[in-house]
């Protein structure tokens, strides 16, 4: 007698520990095989775009921090840049360099959380603690600069809130020196761990054409083999003055674009960020960080779409100005929001346990998905 079987729907979340926030995954299963995954989002929706229409341009900066709260520095960087482009103002060189240094430190901090929590998802707890230990040093540098450890309100339109602390440069150099060794340790502990590779290589392969069609950006796109980084391909701020590589996935442990590639691109990007910060510290010019801050921000009528390479991918701000002190419309293109759309495509045909491995490798922050 044949055993009666039927497909089943399993809800993962909204509070499942591996979903990195409040996300619900509706997983359609045939036994242990995944037929489809439908993400349900919106649990953290805070109406950022509606709020933005009621505030003036300066007041929006702290709200941008709260979108991708693991990369707050970079969110406000992107926002400040968008408004400056709309206004047509040029910020002092020192501000540009400080923003790049802060942004790249933030990239390292964000990637450390990404790879650390990815380890936890797969079952390795120690690398997570190593990652958070090093992130702590970066947060100390931020705290020293602007007083906050997570949500900084640091990049203002036309400048930054505080100049660097006199100890900032030597302490950052010391951290970078230490961190290079720490990355080697991290690689030995997790990246080349046989169990980790077994769980991630050849899992959730994202072909390049699918990635582009789904609008996937950032490390996830580069892991699929395309050298595409806005810091090089659409340069902004002073990124064209630094010498750094764009790491891409090569299928070293499995297929190009698998979970291991997405993980390892992040590790290598941290190495590149270290290079950028070192060069920026060497070139750091003097100047007044407040000199270009406008007294009153009132752009002309018009619209702009401005984007930056956030640690998670392309972060874009589409701002329409109607000539008043409030933006008429503010739309945020969050990288996590767009990257999450490819989830269903990646999980098809895999096992339930791989859903966790795939979700962790995409590296989303729900604060930005829901805004």
């Amino acid at each position: 007698m044949a055993l009666k079987t039927e497909e089943m729907v399993l809800n993962m979340g909204p509070q499942h520990p591996s979903t990195h926030g409040v996300l619900r995954l509706e997983v359609e299963l045939d036994g242990e095989l995944v037929l489809d995954v439908k993400p349900h989002i919106g649990y953290l929706h805070r109406c950022f775009e509606k709020h933005a229409e009621a505030m003036n341009y300066n007041q929006i900066v702290p709200y941008t921090d709260r979108m991708d709260y693991l990369a707050a520095m970079y969110n406000s960087f992107g926002y400040a840049l968008a408004v400056e482009r709309l206004l047509g103002i040029q910020v002092p060189e020192r501000v540009e360099y400080i923003r790049v240094i802060m942004g790249e430190l933030q990239r390292i901090a964000s990637h450390l959380v990404a790879v650390g929590t990815y380890g936890v998802d797969i079952g390795a707890f120690t690398p997570f603690l190593f990652g958070f230990r090093d992130r702590e040093s970066i947060l100390t540098l931020f705290e020293m600069t602007c007083g906050a450890r997570m949500l900084y309100n640091y990049n203002w339109v036309g400048g930054v809130s505080h100049d660097l602390h006199p100890d900032f440069v030597p302490m950052t150099r010391e951290f970078l020196k230490y961190f290079k060794g720490s990355l080697v340790e991290f690689n030995n502990l997790l990246s080349y761990n046989k169990i980790f590779i077994e769980r991630t290589a050849n899992v959730g392969v994202l072909p390049l054409d699918t990635a582009v069609n789904y609008g996937v950006t950032g490390p996830n796109l580069r892991a699929s083999g395309l050298k595409w980084d806005l810091r090089k391909n659409d340069p902004y701020s002073v990124y064209d003055r630094f010498d750094f590589e764009i790491p891409v996935g090569s299928g070293e442990k499995g297929t190009t674009g698998d979970c291991w590639d997405r993980y390892y691109v992040r590790i290598r990007e941290m190495e590149e960020s270290v290079k950028i910060i070192e060069q920026a510290l060497d070139q750091l010019p003097d100047g007044d960080v407040h000199s270009a801050i406008p007294k009153r921000i009132k752009p002309v009528v018009g619209s702009i779409y401005s984007r930056v390479e956030n640690p998670k991918g392309e972060l874009g701000y589409f701002i329409i100005s109607d000539g008043t002190v409030n933006p008429y419309r503010m739309k945020v293109r969050g990288p996590s929001f767009v990257n999450l759309t490819v989830m269903g495509e990646l999980c098809k045909g895999h096992l339930v346990a791989d859903v966790i491995a795939i979700l962790g490798s995409i590296d989303i922050v729900l604060g930005e998905v829901d805004r």
């Binding site: 395309l226 002309v300 329409i320």
Partner: protein, 175 residues
Amino acid sequence: MKTREEIFNILKQEFPEDVLELLNQPTEPIIVASPGAIHNICFYLRDTEGLQFDSLMVLSGVDDANGEKQTEEDGSVTINGGTLSVYYHLESLSLTQKVTLKVSTPRDNPEVESVESVWKSANWHEREAYDMFGIKFLHHPDLRRILMPYDWDAGYPLRKDYKNPEFYQGMKVPY
């Protein structure tokens, strides 16, 4: 790499009736098209040699609020008539060129052809525009609310005349 004027001229030649005008604002020029043909234009932009717009960066709904405004007794505003718009920011990764399209649709019955079949990334962006503005994307495979609760029945929050409801499912909304 083509300028936006060149792209506009190419499109105007191919779709004389559906490509309407080029808005020349200094920050970014915008090509205005008609909502019923936007998917055909997008297919053409994606698949034509020399254009190759393989990526949709962002799709945003906008309330133009250009209809007749009525102020109620309690100070809230109702807008009748006018248009809602959808902006498409496209990019070609291989040719590093960008273009911005815009379609406008009547506010009373906002309908735009979906471009989900052109770029899968449009799926969630269109759902968001539907959720926030009530713009219906025709031939979209899965047009549901995305950020708001599925049973939200108090209208579309990003419209300029949106009013907060008193209660949602028996729960008091203003706090």
